[in-house]
Amino acid sequence: MRLSAVTGRRFLKNRLAASGLAAVAVLIAVSALAPFIAPYEPTAIDIANVLSPPSAAHPLGTDELGRDVLSRMIWGGRVSLKVGFVAVGIAIFIGMLIGSVAGFYGGRTDAALMRFVDIMLAFPTFFLILAVIAILEPSIFTIMAVIGVTSWMDVARLVRAEFLTLKERDFVLAAKASGAGDKRVIFRHILPNALSPVFVAATFGVAGAILVESGLSFLGLGVQPPNPSWGNILTAGKDNIEVAWWLSLYPGLAILITVLSYNLVGEGLRDALDPRLWEAGSE
């Protein structure tokens, strides 16, 4: 408990990390309240107001079908967050499973699983993701699953490294000596102690997943219109680049701010959890 209190205090002292966390909180709140905040229906077509520049009625302008860009961005943020969290959840689950088994059992199991990690890392991630989406239908569920299944490798390596040092420690030997089975030792005794780097990786993971989702949606392989997402508004921006700068500017800014906030939180979390930096601070 004391440890987490120290971590929390160290985290909040870091101004960048704290502002990142505040931004994340605002983004989550806006997404949760999308139906109440968005001034228009995100899919409401208004042929009279096609591609109108930002104005009082439409603060961020309208797209090629006269839909309100602000409303679409608010709803699009919901999609991005959903994809980010679910994809990272999948990645963490697979990564923890493979990392713990490899680190705990060592030997041939470890070697085989780590070769598998190497193989997965050899594929340019975007190629692998695109190939799977080409086969399955592109939809929000497909992207969540595919991003999760192609991004667990870092987590596996981190968890394995933690296991390699933790499994030699006295409390693990004590648990084994008192007759706890492998499953119990892995999940009840070692894993809870190996979670700090996983939290950090998860935070960076959300940022990465949002970037990938927006990229896929931009290419037309992610969230499908008329459902809004930051990526597919930017596709409209590209198609109308000569006439409608607002379609290219604002959604990208939203992605940048979101991803930046998660990265700042991740960085702050990493520093706060790193005991090597504790003495260096003012404490």
């Binding site: 598998f116 050899a122 594929f123 991630t125 927006s214 931009f218 700068w245 290219s248 990208g252 992605i255």
Partner: protein, 326 residues
Amino acid sequence: MLIYISKRLLLMVPLIFGITLITFIVIHLAPGGPVEVQTEMSLKTSAQARENLKRLYGLDKPVHIQYLEWLKRFAMLDFGKSFVDGRRVTDKILERVPITLIINVLSLLLILLIAIPLGVISATRQYSVFDKVSTVFVFVGYSTPTFWLALLLMLLFGVYWGVLPISGFESIDVSGMNRLERLMDWGRHLILPVGVSAFGGIAGISRYTRSSMLEVIKQDYIRTARAKGLPESEVIMRHAFRNALMPIVTILGLSIPGLIGGGVIFETIFAIPGMGQLFYSSTMSRDYPTIMGVLVIGAVLTLIGNLVADISYALIDPRIRVRDKG
């Protein structure tokens, strides 16, 4: 050294097998296999074509035999014929590889030229204004979607200022140019794509350079170098930088799949006929033989990149050199 390289080469063999196996599995995830999806997608596919496809994949045989036969053809670089235009996939990929390689090599150079000085200066002046500004740049650079950056640059340079071409690899009238003009033309077309492709890497690598330098500067031998009265520039460049460079070489190797994969987005945006764009168009048309080919070639290029990084690491790290001599 030779022993080291051959060891590394041997280690690549199981990895290449794994890559082909995963590629094979991914393609066979398709419900009903590749042929069903292909014929379902285009109703024009005749019974004859369907038969050809079945023969191509040997789908009448058990799965492991199918894999082995595919592997045998892969070993001879035969990925079959494209569903789209009937050309050999190998030819289609090979004509794209040089363009992708040129862009990747240029962006790697750009990354090195900008990121390493940036990281070194940041580290030697930790917490200075320069360090703080470059840290902010790193965070923003890390978080910027490259396709958005590409859009903004197209908007500025192409639409508003009209100074750079925003699409393609060469101008339409390229055949009428002499060699110098042609080179200039390529250069103008490459500025934006290479810049966009390098952007994220610059942020990442300068960060690594900074932390690697900070780590090295704390070492005893740096204090010794200073204590014996060497000028600071000598300490930084000769003693610190050369040691800090080693982890960076590895990171550069690891960034190759990202560069190649990122090509899908910026090559598509800038309409550059590289591997990324080929991959995107074959994904859109579900051209399975091409998808499989590019997937395998992309992964193998990554392995080669990592191998080059490992070898250069060994070349600059005396510990590995000496250990192998003994």
